[in-house]
Symmetry: C2
Subunit: 442 residues, 2 copies
């Protein structure tokens, strides 16, 4: 059945619609090109229409039309994902959520917002009440909260609060379904697991209620070390130092800091380094710890008031972004190491082909080193060899070179997510081709 988009456009009236091919293409893509494997597979993908609702009622109307005409629907936040989470594989409608961005309320440590709100905008408001977001991605300036919940897993702050999926980090969501008669359902507490990190394959998140963290005076700090292993051990020790408040522990092996051109004055020789966010009151304790690992603090935001960069934007996947600006052949991996020994083993084994970039975060109460290693890409066979070597040797890879949920970090879809999709998206219209277990069942 061919879809008559002229008819659809009439039915959608008065909802804002983008029809210019160039603009549609732009709003159909994300940072998929970080992966040389995804790049050829996704670069031609594009929606037929982009629709920009401003209210939940409009989202409901769009859902009704999609069900009526069986139109594929792909939800988009700011498009800051890296594996095509929001790229429509079969055309149809891209639902751009960025105008659904109201703050409903903020009170005593909880915020209730519409899904398309930018995290930086939300945080500007929560800070007025002494609160901040528990965790943010390095793209928080433009990324939307709904997109982070749907396509992200953690970020800056995960060293304190673990991952987005951890119990307690998401209070409540409102979801618009694509049932025969689309409706709004609410999920609370554990029920929200049904939609967490599902790339929006099982419902349209319209509203979120999240717990906040107390707002601290964080200070950006750069520390250099004599070798990578010292930097790594320092990172773990800082992560485990219960008396020191921190929000970011990002460790980079030697060649990487050469890619940080605007940090050149603090990393003149591409040193092994740690990029940190430390609470103002914990800086004296940090100094004692740095001394223990023979490190040197080359930058402290509070002492260098002329600096005008944001250290966050050199960490997590922004590291990859900066490296690719210098050398477009660079790609990356996502790895859970579970022990420093495993990091060291891989560091020694691969040398400069896989440049070690570690972010510390909490998993089940313990701080572990997670890799966002930079890979000098040669070809797909070699990349898969590198991935296999990691997996064969006890490191867990959340493969960023696939847009299939099961092939990425999850390995299997939790039955509750598949069952939820069966219920809310019986025609399989939302974000087609991303959940393999659905496709196998249907």
């Amino acid at each position: 059945m061919t879809i008559d988009y002229q008819l659809i456009i009439q039915e959608l009236n008065p909802i804002t619609i983008i029809q210019e091919a160039e603009k549609i293409k732009q709003l159909s893509l994300d940072y998929y090109y970080f992966s040389p494997i995804l790049e050829p597979k996704l670069k031609e993908k594009t929606a037929d229409l982009v629709v920009i609702p401003t209210t939940e009622e409009e989202v409901l109307k769009i859902a009704q039309i999609c069900v009526k005409y069986k139109i594929p629907l792909t939800v988009r936040g700011a498009g800051t994902g890296n594996y095509g989470q929001c790229i429509p594989l079969n055309g149809g409608i891209v639902l751009d959520m960025s105008e659904l961005r109201k703050i409903k309320w903020i009170k005593s440590g909880i915020a209730c917002v519409e899904a398309g709100i930018k995290m930086s905008v939300l945080e500007r408001e929560t800070k007025k009440q002494g609160w901040e977001l528990r965790m943010i991605p390095s793209t928080y300036k433009i990324a939307t909260l709904g997109g982070f919940i749907g396509g992200g897993s953690g970020g800056i702050g995960s060293i304190n609060y673990g991952q987005l999926k951890d119990r307690g980090n998401l209070h409540r969501v409102r979801v618009v379904t694509l049932e025969n008669e689309p409706r709004i359902i609410e999920l609370r507490g554990d029920e929200t697991r049904q939609i967490n990190h599902a790339y929006g394959t099982n419902g349209i998140i319209t509203e979120l209620e999240i717990p906040l963290a107390p707002s601290y005076n964080w200070v950006d700090v750069i520390v250099t070390f004599q070798d990578f292993i010292s930097a790594l051990k320092f990172g773990q020790d800082l992560a485990d130092s219960d008396g020191i408040n921190k929000k970011l522990i990002s460790i980079h092996a030697k060649p990487i800091s050469n890619y940080f051109t605007s940090l050149k004055s603090y990393l003149p020789n591409g040193e092994d380094c740690a990029l940190l966010m430390i609470e103002e009151n914990s800086l004296f304790a940090l100094e004692d710890l740095v001394k223990e690992y023979q490190g040197e603090i080359t930058y402290r935001q509070d002492l260098d008031l002329k600096s005008n960069f944001n250290l966050i934007e050199f960490t997590w996947n922004h590291t990859t972004f900066h490296a690719r600006n210098i050398d477009a052949n660079i790609t990356y991996l996502q790895t859970f190491f579970f022990s420093l020994e495993k990091v060291e083993e891989m560091y020694n084994y691969f040398g400069d082909e896989v440049m070690m970039h570690i972010e510390f975060l909490r998993v089940g109460g313990k701080a572990i080193p997670a890799g966002l290693q930079l890979v000098k890409y040669t070809n797909e066979t070699r990349l898969n060899e590198i991935i296999k070597y990691h997996e064969d040797n006890g490191a867990f890879i959340a493969n960023p070179h696939t847009y299939i949920l099961e092939d990425g970090g999850r390995k299997i879809i939790e039955p509750e997510q598949l069952n939820f999709k069966k219920k809310v998206d019986p025609y399989g219209l939302i974000n087609q081709g991303k959940m393999r277990s659905w496709d196998i069942d249907n």
Copy 2:
């Protein structure tokens, strides 16, 4: 050389002095009688004089007089210790710090106070600015901050911030020395390790600067379980749930809650239970977790506004206090278990002779179960057998049945503490008989 106390009293003028034998005796003791081993050894110990300074200058003057006449000096906070930390073994002067209690300042997450301030009084003030103490003992209503640093190790809040000795938990102290010419020295950051948990054997702490924690709305919660192992596993899971804010996880095996007479309505059958402090905004997530372990919430402070108890005062060593009110034959242990399996092993091995009481706290970044087990005391030989069995089977006992630093939690004195004592107390006047390595050296 006999000390002429009439002369001393004249020299001390106008500092407040207690001379009544009964009052002196009272101010010479602590909760040492929790231990049937310490009870006969310490019950007759008493100072010759109690001196109550109100300023640091008066402390300095007292130090000068003690050095001049070589008078043993023992520093006392509120006397809430349990192993005779502040009991004078050789008479002399007890220095009661409770009137040295000014708040110097509180600002952006740091408090600077005199050592004798009661923790509850300090926290009442910090809360006005949105801050609370990082950790407190169950005796915080009367205990002094200086006493906690000198004689304590952690408490409620240690599940977040680890132990008092952990880097970052103590910014700065001022210490009056007992050198030939007593003076005031300042220690910062790592330097404060020289005085931490040294029972006041190496200098008189007069002022402290401590970092605070953001103040949350904590809710007291009681949860009962079908068996102890479920309660224990629940405790570890809660401790490791990075998305749930908590301040207290206190787990009690079956016979223990029978001793909590004023909690009878919530624990009618002496159930295996968890006593918790949970942030208001994390209560929904707690409910999900409780369900997972088939527990039942029998009390929530926010839903039972008539209750007038403070759950803190049934945890840590207050548990022992309540048990002893019912059965004075009960004493206790202090144990680091490091794994749940070890707790279970000891729980099964000892049965009701050693009733399992667990407090979860962070050690080096990981939440571990620490035991404050209640022991049905028969005789010293059997108590030592019980301790030996733990140690032989991989549990670490911080023996509470000794007043010697090395025989308690430390095993050895860190050289920096011994060296610091040599420097600041060359005549060995302060808290004599508590640091064995000093006595051996002298």
